[in-house]
Structures are given as C-alpha cells and as structure tokens.
Subunit: 452 residues, 2 copies
C-alpha cells in the first residue's frame, strides 16, 4: 500500500485539476517529473477508477514495474490482465523476486506459467522457489538475493569477495554462512565483519546461537512477531532440511504488520483489509450488501423479541420510547470488552490461565458501571415520565444487559477463535444480537411481569 | 508492547500454575531460565495486577532495565514509582538513550531531574538532548549512538577507525558524514563502503542526494511514513540548523506503526491504545464510564425522537416492533463508510479533489443497497404484519436512512479532522446519533403523516 508525502499530496491536487481539464500532456509531465515510483503508485491509488487506467498508460516504461509493485492487489490484477505474458516478464525483470511473485499471484495459473516461460532461466527458477509457497507464508515473503559464504575462509577473503560486487542487496546486515550442502549454519554480521581482525576465519567470528532462523512454511504473522521481538533487519529462511532458501527483510515485514493491524479495524465493519478506497460503486455495493444482509437478520431477531411484548407496549408507550437505551448501552459496553479481548488475543496476552481473571474483572466492571448508569437512567426516566416503576424496571434491565454484554464480549472471541472463526469479523454481529435480545427481553419482560 | 512466542506461551501456562500454587522458587526459576527480557515482559503483561509486582521483584537485577523497556507505559510507571532515583539511574545505565527517555517520561518532572543528576555526565547530556523533544516527535524517538565520520578521509581510514570499535551500534547500515560544525552532509552506506576502492575518500563515495533526513520536530507518524516509503533501516535526525543530533532506527519505527494502527481500532470502541488488558477493575470501570456516559446522551436523543411520536406508536404497535431495524441498518451502513474513510485518511488517499468522487460513489452505493434491502424488508414486513402501508413506509425510511448514513459516514471524518478532532474516537458516536435520529424520525414521521 502506497503512503503519501507532502510533495505527493500537492501533486495529487494539481493532477486532479489537470485530469479534470483533460490536459493529458500536463498529466504526463506531472507523473514523470522525477516522482518516485511509490508516489506515482499513490497518485494512481488516490484516483477514481476512470482516471487510473489513463494514468497507468502515461507512466514511463522504465518505472512501470516498480510502480505496479506498490499498488494494491485489486489494481494490480486489473492492470496485469491487460498485458501479455511477455510484457509482464519484461516489466518485472528488474524487480525483487518476492515482489514479482506477489504480483503474479494476481494472475490466473495459466498466465503465470506463460510469464515464467518468457523469463530467463535464473529469474524463472528464483520465482518458482517462491511461488511454491503460499503467499502468506515465509516462503512467499522471502527474497532469493542472498550473499552466502563458506565458514572456512578468512574475513580478508570475504572483504575481497564483497568488493567484486557492484553493490550489495538492500538491507544486507548479515552474510549467510552455508556448508557445501547449502545448509544454513550461521550468520556473519556486517557489524562484526567490520570490527574483527581480517585474519580470522568466518567460523571464528560468525554467530550460530541466538540466530533467528525462519522456516519457509511459517505464517507471515509469526514471521512479523519474530522480527518485532528480536529487532531484526533480515532473517534467513530455510526448508525442512535446513537448506538455505533465501531471506526476509524488514521492509516486507513492515507491510505484513500494517496489513495485519488493518485487518481487525476493517473486519469489525465487515470490510476487507484489501478494500480499495476508490473501488467502483457496483463492486462496493455488492460487497457491502452481504454485511447489511447479515445484520438485517440480527435486526429482525431483535424485532421478533419486541413483537412478543406488543400488548405491553400498547398499554405503556413509554417502554417503546425507552427500550433503545437498554439495547444501546449493552451494545456499547459489550463492544468495549470485545475490542479489548480481540486486541489481547492479537498481542498474545490471553491464555486459559489468565482468562478467568479477565472474565471476573469484566463482570465487576459491568456491575460497577451497570449500577452507576442504572441510577442515572432511572433518575432521568423518573423525571421524564414521573413513573417510579418504569424507572426501577429500566435500572434493572440496564444492569442485566451490561452483565450479559460483559460475559458475551469476553467469552465470544475466545469461543470463535477456538472454532477457527475470525472474532473481529463475526464478534460484533453476534454481540449485538445478544445485547439487543437481552436488552429488549429484560426491559419489556420485567415490565410485563411487574407493571401490568 | 511485548509480543508472544510459542515458548513464552507455554511458560505463561506453567507460570500461572506456579503462581496459583504459591511456589515462588519455581516462579523465579521460570522467569530467570534464560528467557529473553522481551518474554519476561510478556509474562508480566499477561499477568493480573496482583501477580505483576511479585513477578517484577523476582526478575534478575541485570535484566530489569531491559524488561522494563518492553512493558507498557501504565506498568512502567507503576514499577518506577516504587524505585529511588539512584536505582532508576543504575538500572537504565546500559540501555539505549531513547528507550530510557521513554521510560523517564512516565515519571514526575522532579523525579526525572533526580534521575538525571544520578547519571554520569555523558549519559545525562545524551538523555537531555532527547528529553528536550516531545515523546511523539522524531527527537523523542531518536538515539544518539551514531558513528560519524569526516568527508575528507579515505575509506581505508574509515575501515581502520571502525576496527577500533568493540562493536557497532545495532542497525548501523550507514555511517553519518558531518563537517567540522557537526552539520550533517551525507551518508556512507556500509553497502558502498564494502564494495568500494579503499583509496577513495568518503566524499567521493558518500550519498548526498536522495538521503532521507529527518527534522527533530517532525511527528513520529510522519517519520513512520518516510521509513515505509523509502524502505529505510535508519535515518539521521537534524535540528533546524542542520546539526546532526542522532538517528532513528526501524525497530522503534515498527513500534510507532503498530501503536498508530492500534489507535484507530481501540478509539472506535472508546478505548485508549495504551489500555492495559489486565488493568484493575476500578480503573477500568472509571475509564469506560466516560464512554458509556457519552453514548447515553446519544441514546436519550434517540428516545426523545421516539417520544415525539408516542401517540402514533400507541395506535400502531407494529411501528415500535420495526423501528430498531431502520436505525440499525443505518448504523451498520454508516459505520462501513466511516471506517473506510478513516482508513483512507490514515493512508493519505483522500484529498479535496477526489473526495467528491468518493462522496458520490457512497451515495450511489447507499441508493443501490437502500433499494435492495428496502424491498427485502418491505416484503418481510408485509408477510409479518399483512399491512402494505407499513411495508411501503419502512422501505422509504430505510432508503432515507442509508442515504443519511452515507453522507454522514463520508463527510464526518473530513469535518472532524479539519477541526482537529480524532475521527476514530468521535466519529462512531456522532454517526450513531445521526442514524438513530434520522431512522426513527423518518419511519415514525412518515407513519404519522401517511398512516394515521
């Protein structure tokens, strides 16, 4: 996902003006005026669909590949689908293999094969190594541009070997040490290489213990946790036999961290974290309709509960006026607990042992806030309707619903997670159903029992 | 914020058991059994308050400072408040200056001065440089452990100079080049140093153009964007006169990225991103009460609207049964738009130019989904109550409320942001107020006009 700079923001404005007025040559000048590829990608992402294709066609051929890699999946696949396999192979020739792999995964299987066939042997075999792993695994995240050395040479030889390179790969903080079988055996940190006696051998200086080694099959969120915990810049990736496959660098991990964090926020509103801010209306409407439909079921369940008490409401209309308060306070209190537990899960703070403590804490909090707000609401209700019986009933219902909200908000994410369901996605809907049903049922039910 | 590992998760379980059974010596063995400081911090954070102090007292003196730096602000300040200034100075002696500065900021001004006075001269002046800047600025994030070189020496001299060090600071990907006035003039990437001819001078090899230089006063979220955009591992920090002050490294930026992302999620539920999952019940109840109070005002406004139509409801109870559906569908649709726009703002995708397009897109989406679900709801209503007039009225109200939700969800974050109010915090409450008021008003109002 591309990020803005101040300069890009100014360009965005003048670009939109130029597009409005149809001044194509001005548009071309803006997007090719030394703007970094990430900024061009940002301009494209910030433009409505009808302008995107136009902008893309105006991008200089040399930076096309780089621009594409910063675009979101949705837009990538749209642009790629218009290109021939040879064009794709040509465009991606200078990019990192992991970024090319990510892009290719937007294409149908058949086209991927065509693109691979149009590449030279080395590029192809690198890509195939990455494409063999799921996109969200360490293997899909890794790059194959590693500098490997043998343990039995001296640092002096290493330094001379490095000097034969035009440049080193980005984010090379470690040289990777492998044996004759390409098995990973340790790292030679550049930091150590620079301060050590050149006559020492790699084996004498290299680190073996405490080195974070990543399995190609590990999930990308696990990889992100390892990077965060150990403050890594890069880490080697090995297969099940310990053979070095490549390395993962922090820039790609930062993207994973951002996407994972985005996921919870977007899921709670029933949105996908890959959602394109400027997706066309029809596509957006279709995606959102599903979520509205699910929530409609919740709403009808709540209505059905109210319907059970229609005779009570007919006699005491104040109940209809006040009942949304009970449901809404429960929903708000519950969503606070739910959000806290979902974040606690993401941070790995929750275990079966400390969950009991948290659950009890939430019950106490619900009781405290239940009593506090029950009193406030009862007083307002009494002043409003001058009816102390309704005041007592709504107070009781508030306490009941806040307790139900606490139980649901705390327990639901754990239950959903154990069933393999994403709590951020399903939690809110289920919680609202519970707080609506309990809210209406307790308030109208108590009124029917004690008031009529 | 500490992150879990598989090992830590297993320890968490056995630790909780040991704590339950009161086996202090076993607890001590667990937390000092070669567990990394970040894991010890994780164990403490994952424990209820009553166990935390106990665990903290059992931590080995040598790793106390490191453990403390991984704990959340809340817990840091709790532990620090029990220590003397000399103890704090002693404990933090081996830590990075930026991490110490973060910790000290949890203490009262007077105590900070005492701690500074107990430090040796070098540590103190480093810390004072950082403490002079706000915690959330580049100056507060930077570290002062930079390796600086002069431009007129040869790479060979640089290499020999480096070899005089025991080790280089973590994440040293660039050496920083300064002139006699300590003004920053460029970077010598280690990558270049290693592949260049040792007889060249620093000036010949160093990079000056395209180097990201950070102003000490820049906000940390701007710093994070620069790191993400340019795939940086570290960047130099300068003051207004271009004097080099220190550097920022990606590990600290990753924390900023995670906290910023957390902020939106937690704010939308009225929670603070620093919220401690295991805060005591009283503290938690007090913090949450505020949010419930604010939402209660919303709920009473909605009730007041319903109250305006009490006579209508008395005659047609079906209205009371159905009215939550109108309000709830509006709330759900609105929060989808709200979340999308808030994320768009965070990613910098929204400008005044493309906002009009987005706004119109949302109106079209609301119209499409409004019509779709209005029809579905009308049919169900008709089947349920056998009353085509109510069916038509609820259909109209749904369309009106979904349009209102789209307008509010799209415009509100932009308006709030321009007023300096956090949309993630205030947006949801205001949106719900609008969709409740418009929902009840349109449904009950139309019924009063056309039905009675």
């Amino acid at each position: 996902m591309a990020e803005p700079s101040e300069k890009a923001r100014a360009k965005l404005l003048s670009l939109n003006e130029a597009l409005e007025s149809g001044a194509i040559s001005r548009v071309r000048r803006i997007i090719n005026s030394g703007l970094a590829p990430v900024d061009v990608a940002h301009l494209i992402e910030s433009s409505p669909p009808r302008d995107r294709k136009l902008l893309w066609d105006l991008v200089d051929k040399e930076i096309e590949g780089e621009v594409l890699q910063y675009l979101s999946d949705d837009i990538q696949s749209q642009f790629l689908s218009d290109m021939s396999a040879a064009e794709v192979a040509d465009m991606t020739a200078d990019l990192d293999a992991d970024d090319v792999a990510d892009m290719l995964q937007q294409l149908p299987e058949r086209v991927i094969q065509e693109v691979l066939d149009s590449m030279d042997h080395q590029d192809r075999s690198r890509l195939e190594a990455i494409l063999g792993y799921p996109e969200d695994s360490a293997g899909g995240l890794m790059n194959t541009d590693t500098i490997t050395i043998r343990p039995d040479i001296t640092l002096d030889v290493v330094l001379r070997y490095l000097r034969r390179h035009q440049s080193l790969p980005d984010m090379t903080d470690n040289l990777l040490v492998v044996n004759r079988q390409s098995e990973f055996i340790g790292v030679l940190p550049i930091r150590k290489l620079l301060v050590s006696d050149p006559q020492q051998t790699v084996r004498e200086v290299m680190s073996t213990g405490g080195v974070t080694v990543i399995q190609a099959t590990q999930h990308e969120t696990e990889v992100a946790k390892l990077f965060e915990r150990h403050d890594l810049v890069s880490a080697p990736v090995v297969d099940a036999n310990g053979i070095l496959l490549g390395r993962i660098t922090i820039d790609d991990v930062v993207d994973v961290i951002r996407e994972t964090a985005d996921h919870s926020l977007m899921s709670m509103a029933g949105l996908d974290e890959d959602e394109d801010t400027f997706a066309p209306a029809l596509k957006t409407a279709r995606r959102r309709a599903v979520w509205l439909g699910i929530n409609l079921i919740t709403a009808f369940i709540a209505s059905a509960v109210i319907g059970m008490f229609d005779k009570t409401i007919q006699q005491v209309v104040a109940l209809a006026v006040l009942m949304p308060i009970v449901a809404s306070m429960g929903g708000i209190a519950g969503s606070q607990v739910l959000t806290l537990v979902i974040r606690g899960q993401a941070l790995g703070h929750l275990s079966s042992a400390n969950f009991t403590w948290l659950f009890n804490r939430e019950l106490i909090v619900a009781a405290l806030n239940g009593v506090l707000w029950a009193i406030v609401i009862a007083i307002i209700t009494w002043l409003w309707f001058g009816d102390e019986m309704i005041a007592v009933i709504i107070a009781a219902a508030i306490i009941i619903n806040l307790m139900a909200a606490a139980v649901t908000g705390a327990a639901l994410p754990q239950i959903l997670k154990s069933q393999g369901i994403d709590p951020a996605l399903a939690g809110g809907v289920i919680l609202t159903t519970v707080t609506d049903v309990v809210g209406f049922m307790s308030f109208l039910g108590l009124a029917t029992l004690f008031y009529l």
